[in-house]
């Protein structure tokens, strides 16, 4: 099971609680867009749009990249999925190790018990 910090989820829910921000995500689901494009589409100032994008970015829902003077926004969901997948693989690695370690702990426990019996 992948566990996310509640703070992580809170940020996502807070970001999604706003209709404009949901609209931005829907828009970016169709194509990447610059802050300027988004501000025009949603009839907002650049500053206002930057704030919304900032909230989405904080929540990991959107990523932005600046090339020259243009900042392009794209959906960040993929990154979250990648992180979840990586964490799951990482967990499976430790689980595989610990399953082996379980056996060794059981063997050592048995040895100790046998050792004590033999000394008696």
């Amino acid at each position: 099971m992948v566990q996310f910090q509640p703070a992580h989820l809170d940020a996502s829910f807070a970001a999604l609680s706003d209709a404009t921000r949901r609209g931005i995500l829907e828009r970016l689901g169709r194509a990447d867009a610059s802050i300027t494009d988004l501000a025009e589409k949603f009839h907002m100032t650049l500053t206002g749009m930057k704030k919304h994008v900032g909230v989405l970015e904080q929540a990991g829902l959107v990523t932005t990249e600046k090339v020259g003077r243009v900042r392009t926004c794209k959906l960040g969901l993929h990154r979250l999925e990648e992180e979840a997948a990586w964490i799951e693989r990482y967990r499976r690695l430790w689980e595989a190790r610990f399953d082996e370690l379980d056996k060794i702990v059981a063997e050592l426990k048995l040895e100790r018990v046998d050792g004590r019996k033999m000394r008696k």
Binding site: A85, L101, D102, K109
Partner: protein
């Protein structure tokens, strides 16, 4: 039934792994600190990796060097670092020095009745370092076939080693 293993990204720079073992802390600690025992579980067969060599001088100030092989990798891969703190039966802290962005790993053993709670904590030097570890572990899988997926597993394994 086996005990669950959980992983959590605790913060931008930290990963935490937990697992309970059915034995006293002394025994679990021993399995981490005696190379001949460590060797038996650190490279799980189900991940296809095997030890070429395993040197570990597990005491404060000691060093380790693990070399692994994997069918998907021609070159053997070496992982090494230093034990910053080794406190019998309760705590081991080591560095991962094969990369400049390696984490500092802390393992604690807490005895609870006849069981031991193990908490493994990895602290990366920056958010970027952990993000990059995650990104490099993922791109291989999404882009290429099964071969890369296997290699990816090895890299994840070895990065963590």
């Amino acid at each position: 039934m086996k005990n669950p293993t959980t992983v959590e990204r605790k913060s931008e720079r930290e990963l935490v792994v937990t697992r309970t073992f059915n034995g006293p802390a002394q025994i679990v600690f021993e399995a981490w600190t005696k190379p001949e025992l460590l060797k038996q579980w650190w490279a799980p067969k189900s991940f296809g990796i095997s030890f070429i060599s395993c040197e570990a001088d597990v005491r404060t100030g000691g060093t380790y060097r693990f070399v692994f092989s994997h069918p998907a990798s021609e070159e053997p891969l070496a992982f090494f670092g230093r034990y910053i703190e080794v406190t019998p039966h309760s705590r081991i802290v080591w560095t991962n020095e094969e990369s400049a962005d390696g984490a500092v790993t802390t393992v604690t053993f807490e005895e609870m009745g006849d069981k031991t709670l193990l908490v493994l904590h990895e602290l990366y030097p920056s958010k970027q370092a952990l993000d990059e570890a995650i990104a490099s572990g993922s791109t291989g899988t999404s882009g290429a076939g099964e071969q890369f997926e296997e290699l990816d597993k090895v890299l994840v394994t070895l990065e963590r080693s």
